[in-house]
């Protein structure tokens, strides 16, 4: 069923409209998708995934700031 397979468009729109920077927005989209997958599969562990995702977006943010 569609609603169980993707993130509610209302949430995506609100993330896009928000004033937070692109890395926070990207991070939220990624963790929401992870949560959705874990929710359906009932995986209890989350911290490694979060830690990795935080590192990934912090790194991207750092690189982008270095460029400018």
């Amino acid at each position: 069923m569609e609603m169980s397979e993707s993130i509610n468009q209302r949430i995506i729109d609100k993330i896009d409209e928000s004033a937070f920077d692109e890395w926070i927005k990207g991070f939220l989209r990624t963790v929401l998708l992870n949560e959705l997958a874990n929710f359906e599969e009932g995986k209890p562990r989350f911290s490694d995934e979060y830690d990795r995702t935080i590192d990934q977006y912090l790194e991207e943010r750092r690189k982008s700031r270095d460029v400018f």
């Binding site: 209302r10 609100k14 926070i24 935080i54």
Partner: protein, 668 residues
């Protein structure tokens, strides 16, 4: 989404019936199933909820405890033989994909002739039934591994009553838990739960980053330990708050249950007194909130004026002192800086002495005068402007007095009203409690017990909330302190960066969650209001329909009172219909609607009004109406005619041991 068919086998009075719900034309989205009282209309509704949730949610007094197995089937069964009860529903989604749900429960007739249920030992359902769900994927039918999860996504069990409607049970719809159930269901469908999990996990990540900081200085270590203690206390208080709120909710439901019994009792004066008591309670609640408003306005005004009031004496004395100096001609000074500058520039004093020589002793005297004058002028200017300011500040005390008097007067009026109403309320309490009807006494006693529990809990909840608020502030301060300490130590920049990222992401997720909740709530409120005023026949009687933050619905009566308790059965029906339509259109639920005795409580005029308007506001939804002949009058039929795609009648045989029924197409 719509029902394609519903098939019932050995389910209650239906031995073998298949009802075709498919739409012959898109516009003809209404299905009408007519049946006399007791024919088996409600059991079609029960078959739907049993198939979806494993429970007959609209069971009446007649059936509890009785097995779902058809009596004839049981009779015909030989000793030691098994049989199966089955309800199968085929649903069609918007994209034309089909889903089949099949629930079964097995029975056996023992050698002695008794009925025995054979539960599925792996069944998660209390009755031991089995549910199989198949989804159409292309031409294939694929079994779904967790049908319960999918059903709860499609039609959450907690709010099914807004889609599978029993007109006779409408009083239950707007009770205490409804708001919480609706909020939870909307949260699920809007995926707010996902955001809540993100927020929860980010909080845990923050804690873990702080925990993993090793070898800190003693100061930072002390702050970290303190922070962990605060977090533990906060978590335990939050969970206590949730528990207390649950108890409060239960107490509200129970209180309302006994209040409703009193309202419906046949003992003379009691229903009237109970209605009056509810109105008085509403009034008191409103008065208390108005008094609170004025009290806080009075307090705000006091806070605003406090500095002026406390320094009133000093201000007055300064003003007096300035006046004395002004009168003595000391302020402003009697000569101006500009004038002395001109004398020096021209090299001639006012008395005629030449002062052009820079070394001249008179010139030096005039220059000293200029230096002193410069200071005096500045101070004098400041004193003059200060005097104006002091004057205005003292003048504002008058405003303060007026404001305090006004607020005090308003509070006094409201307080008198409150006392009068409290006295009346006490009289009603005493009159009801003093009745000589034992049953009424007991109901009143129970109602009071729950009211006391509720009131006690409200105090506890307030105290816990204050504790949480205070500790959240302390926690924030400690977090900043720890951040500063970590910055000092330099080694932890990487962890600090991650911690800050976590905080920012959590803030973003919380803001988005709040915005979505507010948007959905506002939209449902607007839609309910629109539908309610479109359908209600006494349009002037009610002013507004509101949905609070907990999704509890209220109606504002023209008297200014909360009017949900005063709605007639028909008006409550209209409100429930409006709310259901709003939930349907706003929340993202795409659910077929089935209403049992939809017009049963309505008199002729409202009946026609609803029949005329119902199709418009449930546009695009499949609506099945389970009606009696008395409800489905020629006028109603005429108004619905163009929208009815299929029409059925329940043929039934009334028998001592239990009815037998069959749904057949209705032929005029």
């Amino acid at each position: 989404m719509y029902f394609d068919y519903i098939e019932l086998e050995n389910f209650r009075q239906y031995k073998n019936t298949k009802i075709d719900f498919s739409r012959p034309e898109k516009e003809k989205n209404f299905i009408v199933i007519q049946g006399a009282n007791g024919a088996g209309k409600t059991n079609i509704l029960n078959a739907v909820t049993w198939c979806l949730y494993g429970e007959e949610l609209h069971i009446g007094k007649k059936y509890p405890g009785l097995p779902v197995l058809n009596i004839d089937t049981f009779k015909e069964l030989g000793p030691g033989k098994n049989c199966e009860v089955k309800v199968e529903i085929r649903l069609v989604e918007k994209n034309d994909r089909k889903i089949v749900l099949k629930r079964t429960l097995n029975f056996r007739k023992t050698e002695k002739g008794d009925l025995q249920t054979i539960p599925d030992i792996q069944s998660p359902y209390s009755d031991g039934s089995t549910l199989i769900m198949m989804r159409q994927t292309g031409k294939e039918w694929v079994p779904v591994s967790d049908p319960r999860f999918i059903i709860n996504r499609l039609i959450p069990r907690s709010i099914q009553q807004f889609f599978f409607f029993d007109g006779e049970q409408l009083d239950e719809y707007f009770k205490g838990t409804a708001g919480k159930d609706i909020y939870e269901a909307i949260s699920k469908v809007s995926q707010i739960g996902l955001l809540e999990r993100v927020i929860e996990h980010l909080s845990k990540m923050e804690d873990s980053f702080i925990r993993n900081v090793k070898g800190l200085s003693s100061n930072a270590e002390e702050i970290r330990t303190r922070l962990e203690t605060y977090k533990t206390s906060l978590n335990s208080q939050r969970s206590e708050l949730t528990q207390k709120e649950d108890v409060k909710r239960e107490a509200e439901i129970k209180e309302e249950e006994f209040s409703s019994k009193l309202r419906k009792s046949s003992v003379s004066r009691i229903p009237e007194l109970e209605k009056q008591r509810n109105l008085l309670k509403e009034d008191l609640k409103k008065l208390e909130s108005q008094i609170d408003d004025f009290e806080s306005q009075r307090f705000d005004s006091l806070l605003k004026f406090a500095p002026i009031i406390f320094s009133h004496e000093a201000l007055s004395s300064s003003r007096d002192s300035i006046s004395v100096r002004e009168e003595a001609g000391e302020i402003p000074p009697d000569y101006k800086r500009h004038f002395i500058e001109q004398l020096i520039k021209k090299g001639k004093c006012i008395c005629g002495i030449d002062i052009s020589d820079e070394e001249d002793k008179y010139r030096k005297e005039v220059e000293r005068l200029l230096r002193d004058c410069s200071e005096i002028s500045e101070i004098s200017d400041e004193i003059i402007s200060l005097n104006v300011e002091i004057g205005s500040m003292i003048g504002r005390i008058k405003d303060f007095k007026e404001q305090q008097e006004r607020h005090g007067k308003n509070i006094k009026i409201l307080e008198e009203d409150r006392q009068q109403k409290s006295k009346l309320l006490k009289q009603i309490d005493e009159e009801i409690a003093g009745t000589d009807v034992e049953q009424i006494k007991q109901w009143e006693m129970k109602r009071l017990e729950w009211q006391k529990i509720k009131e006690g809990i409200i105090g506890d909840i307030g105290a816990i909330k204050k504790f949480i608020e205070r500790y959240e502030n302390i926690q924030r301060v400690s977090e900043s302190e720890l951040k500063r300490e970590l910055q000092k130590e330099g080694r932890y920049n990487r962890i600090l960066e991650k911690l800050e990222f976590c905080k920012e992401a959590k803030k973003a997720a919380s803001e988005i969650k709040d915005k979505i909740i507010a948007d959905v709530r506002r939209a449902i409120e607007e839609e309910t209001r629109k539908e309610f005023f479109g359908l209600i026949w006494k349009k002037q009687t009610y002013l507004d329909v509101k949905l609070d933050e907990d999704y509890n619905i209220s109606v504002l009566h023209q008297s200014g009172r909360e009017g949900i308790g005063t709605l007639s059965a028909g008006e409550r029906q209209v409100l429930a219909l409006s709310f259901m339509a709003a939930l349907n259109s706003v929340s993202g639920f795409d659910v077929p609607i089935m209403i049992d005795t939809p017009l049963g409580r309505l008199s002729s005029e409202p009946k026609k009004n609803i029949a005329e308007n119902l199709p418009n506001y449930l546009k695009g939804k499949q609506v099945s109406l389970l009606v009696t002949e008395e409800e489905y009058t020629p006028q109603v039929r005429e108004r619905l005619f163009e929208r009815v795609g299929r029409s059925y009648i329940i043929k039934f045989e009334e028998r001592e041991e239990g009815n037998l029924a069959e749904v057949v197409p209705f032929v005029e």
